[in-house]
Symmetry: C2
Subunit: 141 residues, 2 copies
DNA sequence: CAAAATTAAATTGTATACAATTAATTTATA
DNA sequence: TATAAATTAATTGTATACAATTTAATTTTG
């Protein structure tokens, strides 16, 4: 039998998985200073754009479920970056609001994207192409 | 201040992270039948190609550390797919060998790559491009 | 309107991931 | 050659991820 399809080098998912991991690892030392993990960081990104926001919406935008977000949001609350409270109109919903401290974090963290970019020494065109293909796939999934 | 660089839509890492997660999620129902996780599956892929292999080499090929691999290998051993023993020449090294049962698994699992491929309805050219860019980045990291 | 169905967050359990440390072994060196 | 340095797995601790279940609230429906 021909087992070529089961070779690691013939997989697209493997470099995708490794690349995502390794790029996220580049964020770690940069985000450590702010006591944030990568997942907490992208959560803050949504909140800098949209606050207040319902937890369900946050889950949808971040492609995460409540099992992941519930403890993460509690941690961000402990750090003082967000508040969590129930929606009066529908008590099932959790309303997440960014705090002043959370909003202020944006100014401090502004240099992170550029720092990460400098860790990935490939041309802009490659990253642009990568971006387009990834969203093309995400749309179809 | 201009905060565009902190918008989720302007990140390359975010779709990379989500895409990797979502594609791996496509493997889940397919691998469940074999009682394997994605990480266990790619570990088996290395072993189908190379056995015996030193744990250190396995770590290097999979971009994982011993904190992740040690418990994973113990699980694969419990399932009867591999054996773990020390290298007589250098007792620090852990030698991982595939078992007959592990080798037989390859024939059963052969259809998985095609099944996953069919879950990602984009042209081959896109995946080919993706593959090239991802390895280009990995080489530089 | 009351019961059933639906929805959303939280909880529980399992499996990664990785940093930091520890323990055992081997290699280098004074 | 005895000790220091280096190497490798394993361990410990923290933080995701996600499936499955539970709980509480809301909506639908008979």
């Amino acid at each position: 039998m021909n087992y070529d399809s089961l070779k690691l080098e013939n997989q697209v998912c493997f470099p995708l998985y490794v690349c995502a991991k390794e790029v996220i690892n580049k964020y770690r030392p940069l985000l450590d200073r702010f006591d944030l993990t990568y997942t907490q960081y992208i959560t803050m990104m949504v909140l800098w754009e949209t606050s207040p926001i319902i937890s369900k919406e946050l889950c949808r935008k971040l492609y995460l479920d409540s099992g992941t977000l519930t403890p993460l949001l509690k941690k961000l609350e402990c750090k003082g970056y967000i508040t969590r409270c129930r929606d009066n109109d529908d008590e099932r919903n959790l309303v997440v609001c960014i705090t002043e401290k959370g909003m202020a974090l944006r100014d401090e963290i502004i240099s992170v994207p550029e720092s990460v970019r400098s860790c990935i020494p490939v041309p802009d065109e490659d990253l642009q192409q990568l971006y387009v293909i990834l969203y093309k796939i995400l749309e179809k999934l």
